[in-house]
C-alpha cells in the first residue's frame, strides 16, 4: 500500500534521501534561502518503503515536486495523490489559494487537477488554483473610464514614496488618459505594504486620472519574481523577469486595456536593469515601454533614490531628506523614526529593494 508521510528535513538521513531523489529528477538548487522557506515536505512511499515521490509547500506555493510514476498504475496516479495530499495539507492550514512554478513538462499534469496557467515562457510556467484568483483580483481593481484610450501602468515598490516616484507618475500621466499605479504587495521591505500603499495614495491625492492599487501576488511578488527580493544568479533573474512580464502582459495589461508601461531608468540595480531590458523585449507591440530618466537633485548629478533615503533614515540624517521626499513621506518618517530604525537594526537591509 502506498503511503504519504511527512518528511522531516532536519533529520540528516531523511534530508540526504530527499536531496538525492530530487537530484535524480533534475532539481539541484538546495541553497539555504530556498530550503529554509519550506513549511512542510511530504514523501510518497511505495509498498516496499521506497521513496517514489515528494513535494513541499512554502507559504501558498508548491515546490520541489518530483514523482516516479508507477508503470503498472494509470498515468499520473502518484502525481495526483501527492498533489492532493499537499492541497489537503494547505487546506488544513486555512490556505485555499495556491500557486506552483514549474517546468513546461508538468503543465498538463497540473491543469488536469484543476490548476490554471497564469504565465508561460520557454523555460517554465506559473499556475494557480483556488480563490481568490486572478479574476477576483482584476474585478477588485477600479475600472478605467471607457472613453480612455491610452492607459498606462507603473509597478513600484515605493520603499518609501519619494519625489522620484511622484515625478515618474506625473510624467506617465502626461502620456496617458488613465494610469494604474500598482504598489508591490510583498511585505519584505523596510516600510510595510500598507505603509507604502498609504504613502503613495497620500502623495498622489491631488492628481486625477489614476488609481493606486496593491499589486497582489501577481506583480513583482515572491511568486513571480523572487530575485527582486533575494540576490540570485543572472540566469534565474532572466527567467523570472520573463515570467513576471508575461504574467503582466497576459493577465493584467490585455484584459484591462493597458497599452503603456512606464518605468524609471535604473543606473544602480543590476536586477532591475535586466528587468527593464526584458520588458522592452517582451511587451511590445501590445504594450509600449517608456523608460524615463531618473529625477536628479538640484546638482543634476545624484538621482533621487529610495535606497539613499533608507540609508539616511539609518544614520538619522533627516535634514538631508527634504530634497528627496514629498511632505507626506517626510511627516511619516518624522513620526515613526524610532520604529523604522528599530526595524533596520532588526535586519531589514537598507540595500534590499
Amino acid at each position: 500500500m502506498e503511503q504519504v508521510r511527512d518528511l522531516f528535513l532536519t533529520t540528516p538521513a531523511v534530508r540526504r534521501q530527499w536531496q538525492t531523489f530530487l537530484d535524480d529528477h533534475g532539481i539541484h538548487d538546495f541553497s539555504e534561502q530556498e530550503t529554509a522557506g519550506l513549511d512542510a515536505t511530504l514523501g510518497l512511499y511505495d509498498g516496499q518503503g521506497q521513496l517514489v515521490g515528494t513535494g513541499s509547500v512554502a507559504g501558498q506555493t508548491i515546490k520541489y515536486l518530483a514523482v516516479n510514476e508507477d508503470p503498472d498504475a494509470p498515468a499520473g496516479a502518484r502525481f495526483n495523490q501527492l498533489v492532493s495530499a499537499l492541497e489537503s495539507h494547505l487546506a488544513a492550514a486555512g490556505i485555499f489559494h495556491l500557486f506552483v512554478v514549474t517546468k513546461i513538462q508538468y503543465q498538463q499534469s497540473f491543469e488536469h487537477v484543476g490548476f490554471q496557467t497564469l504565465a508561460k515562457t520557454d523555460q517554465g510556467l506559473i499556475l494557480e488554483k483556488g480563490r481568490p484568483d486572478i479574476n477576483d483580483y482584476r474585478q477588485s481593481l477600479p475600472k478605467a473610464p471607457a472613453t480612455t484610450k491610452r492607459r498606462a501602468a507603473i509597478v513600484m515598490n515605493a520603499n518609501p514614496f519619494t519625489k522620484g516616484h511622484r515625478y515618474l507618475i506625473e510624467r506617465a500621466l502626461s502620456q496617458a488618459d488613465f494610469l494604474y499605479v500598482f504598489v508591490v504587495s510583498e511585505d519584505v521591505s523596510l516600510f510595510t505594504s500598507e505603509e507604502r500603499l498609504a504613502l503613495v495614495k497620500a502623495g498622489t491625492a491631488d492628481l486625477d486620472g489614476l488609481a493606486v492599487v496593491p499589486g497582489g501576488p501577481y506583480m513583482v511578488s515572491y511568486l513571480s519574481f523572487p530575485a527582486y527580493f533575494i540576490a540570485d544568479q543572472e540566469q534565474a533573474v532572466t527567467f523570472q523577469t520573463a515570467l513576471d512580464i508575461s504574467l503582466f502582459k497576459d493577465q493584467i495589461a490585455q484584459p484591462l486595456g493597458i497599452n503603456l508601461r512606464v518605468v524609471g531608468s535604473e543606473p544602480h540595480s543590476r536586477t532591475t536593469a535586466i528587468y527593464n531590458q526584458q520588458m522592452k523585449k517582451y511587451l511590445p507591440p501590445t504594450v509600449q515601454v517608456l523608460e524615463i530618466p531618473r529625477l536628479t537633485l538640484a546638482d543634476g548629478q545624484s538621482v533621487v533614490s529610495a535606497t539613499t533615503v533608507r540609508q539616511k533614515i539609518a544614520s538619522g540624517d533627516l535634514a538631508a531628506l527634504v530634497d528627496y521626499l514629498p511632505s507626506c513621506t517626510q511627516a511619516f518618517i518624522h513620526q515613526h523614526l524610532q520604529t523604522l530604525q528599530a526595524r533596520l537594526k532588526k535586519g531589514s537591509k537598507t540595500d534590499a529593494n
Binding site: 496516479a77 495526483n80 485555499f96
Partner: protein, 97 residues
C-alpha cells in the same frame, strides 16, 4: 445562505472527486474539471447542487475536480465540503443524508 469559510473535501486520486467551496457574494458559480465532463458533467453538477440546496447554500463558488467518481462518492464529498464550509463538521445533518 453564505458559507462561513473555504473548505476542501476529497482527493485527486482515481475514482474520487475533489470539491472546493469558497465564499461568494452572489449566486452559485460552478466550475468542473473532468475527463468525462461531456458524458457526466450535468449529472455531477446536479448531484453537487442538490447537496448545496439541502444545506440552503446559495452563495458559493464551487470548484470540482473529478477523477471518475461515482454518484455516492460525489454526494459524500459534497456533504463533507458543506459541513466544513459551514463550520459544523462536528454536527452531522442527518436529514441531508
Amino acid at each position: 445562505m453564505q458559507i462561513k469559510q473555504s473548505a476542501l473535501a476529497g482527493t485527486l486520486e482515481s475514482s474520487d472527486v475533489q470539491i472546493m467551496l469558497s465564499p461568494a457574494k452572489q449566486g452559485i458559480q460552478f466550475d468542473l474539471v473532468s475527463d468525462v465532463a461531456k458524458q457526466f458533467g450535468d449529472q455531477i453538477k446536479a448531484t453537487v447542487l442538490a447537496v448545496l440546496a439541502a444545506y440552503d447554500i446559495d452563495q458559493v463558488t464551487v470548484k470540482v475536480v473529478d477523477k471518475g467518481a461515482l454518484d455516492p462518492v460525489i454526494k459524500a464529498r459534497a456533504i463533507t465540503a458543506c459541513q466544513r464550509a459551514l463550520a459544523i463538521a462536528d454536527q452531522p445533518q442527518w436529514e441531508v443524508l
